[in-house]
């Protein structure tokens, strides 16, 4: 999941009003889930990709889509197994089966999931958190402290991704295979990472919050 978070640039999207960007992203996400047709997520996917290209981030967007697809495969499989109504495509063990309806529904669901994550990822890439905080505070009169909390969360996305990479590398150095193709195996390897990541995340967030308070974030 490397490459999440702000990336410098001076494209049209970089310079656009932060609130406008966030609003448009939310409109797209809402459209995906409000319009029953699968044309909506497909259109959002294409539109977001074109927008990414416009700010020199096309290649990055493809990478994000690829890792989203990997991530979604697990969801797709679980989803498919849960839907046991409809015409059997492949019968499995213990009376379980893969059905046509199950596959179609899960495909649609995963497509919506991927499409809805992309606009937000793009907004994160072209917006400085601190600019969004200023805009939220000035336009909507949201107390700066809370506006800043949003910015701070955005500021931590790349750190979080980096740390995950560090831990995976440390495990790889100790001989843990992360390139494995099996999903269950991969999930079992990732599980022990989650706790240290969460704990260090909490500690970092604590320092970040205290540091912001000591620099007057509540005074504004």
């Amino acid at each position: 999941m490397g490459g999440l978070g702000y990336f410098p640039g001076d494209s049209f999207l970089h310079r656009a009003n932060p609130i406008l960007k966030l609003f448009l992203a939310l409109v797209l996400v809402t459209a995906i889930f409000a319009i029953p047709s699968l044309i909506a997520p497909a259109a959002v996917l294409v539109l977001t990709f074109l927008l990414s290209v416009s700010c020199k981030s096309g290649r990055w967007m493809l990478r994000i889509i690829r890792s989203m697809i990997k991530f979604s495969l697990v969801i797709f499989i679980i989803q498919t197994l849960f839907i046991q109504t409809g015409d059997t495509l492949i019968p499995l063990f213990w009376g379980l089966r893969i059905t046509y309806q199950g596959v179609m529904f899960s495909l649609g669901f995963v497509l919506k999931l991927i499409a809805s994550a992309l606009p937000l990822a793009l907004v994160l890439r072209v917006t400085k958190g601190i600019d969004l905080a200023d805009a939220l505070n000035e336009t909507f009169k949201i107390p700066y402290k809370y506006a800043y909390a949003v910015a701070s969360a955005m500021r931590f996305v790349p750190d979080f991704a980096d740390e995950m990479k560090d831990i995976i590398e440390a495990q790889t150095a100790r001989g843990v295979e992360h390139d494995t193709k099996g999903f269950v195996k991969k999930a079992r390897l990732l599980a022990p990472i989650c706790l240290p990541l969460l704990l260090s995340g909490v500690r970092k967030a604590e320092v970040a919050a205290i540091s912001a308070e000591m620099r007057g974030v509540s005074n504004r």
Binding site: K128, I130, P158, D159
Partner: protein, 217 residues
């Protein structure tokens, strides 16, 4: 500037005292170095000087700590933070922004400066610390020394009376360590009261004008 009397502190949920019966008087203009083994309470003492303890870290608090005459327990953090600035040991997590210049502007605007004023002061401070070349570079891509200077610049921009630094040279190479201490020496000469925790005894003795060894026995 800071007066600590019969001060003991035990973190909530902890069995033993992190600081025990500390008596310390730091006059204005001091450049005090804190030494002590790992776990002796240097960080806790710095936290106590600026009100991070007990405002953010709760626990059993005995005795009194006064910052510029203000009792740190009774005075809200919004007041204490105008007097004392702190540079955290984990500075990576303490940055609020993506760029060094934004980081300095952040505190200034919070303390009531307009955007234009904040940008003017930022330019001045970056020139003073010779970090103008860091403008437009992502903080996360900077070297340890460059990050330290950025955190330092952000801390002194708001013109505190006291500057607290928690092992600010930890991971730096010897040359960068000296650079940081030379900046501090100049700030101290201009009247800033400084308290710093530092493992390197040689540097501590060379630059600090007084030393306090923290023990939690």
């Amino acid at each position: 500037m800071i007066k600590i009397e019969k001060f003991s502190f035990k973190y909530k949920g902890s069995e033993k005292f992190a600081l025990h019966d500390v008596n310390l008087d730091v006059p204005a203009g001091a450049f005090l170095g804190l030494s002590g083994v790992s776990g002796s309470g240097k960080t806790s003492l710095l936290y106590s000087c600026c009100g991070v303890i007990p405002h953010f870290y709760k626990g059993d608090f005995y005795g009194s700590v006064r910052l510029a005459g203000l009792d740190t327990v009774e005075t809200p953090i919004s007041e204490l933070s105008k007097i004392a600035a702190i540079v955290f040991e984990d500075m990576d997590s303490s940055f609020a922004c993506t760029y060094p210049e934004d980081e300095i502007v952040f505190g200034l605007r919070n303390f009531g400066h307009t955007k234009a004023e904040a940008e003017e002061i930022t330019a001045k401070i970056m020139a003073e610390l010779s970090i103008e070349d860091l403008r437009g570079k992502l903080i996360r891509s900077l070297s340890g020394g460059q990050k330290r200077k950025t955190a330092l610049a952000a801390a002194i921009a708001i013109k505190p009376k006291v500057l607290l630094l928690d092992e600010p040279t930890g991971e730096l190479d010897p040359e960068a360590k000296i650079q940081v201490f030379e900046i501090l020496e100049k700030l101290n000469a201009d009247g800033l009261t400084i308290i710093i925790s530092e493992r390197n005894e040689t540097l501590l003795r060379k630059y600090c004008t007084s030393e306090y060894t923290v023990t939690n026995a």
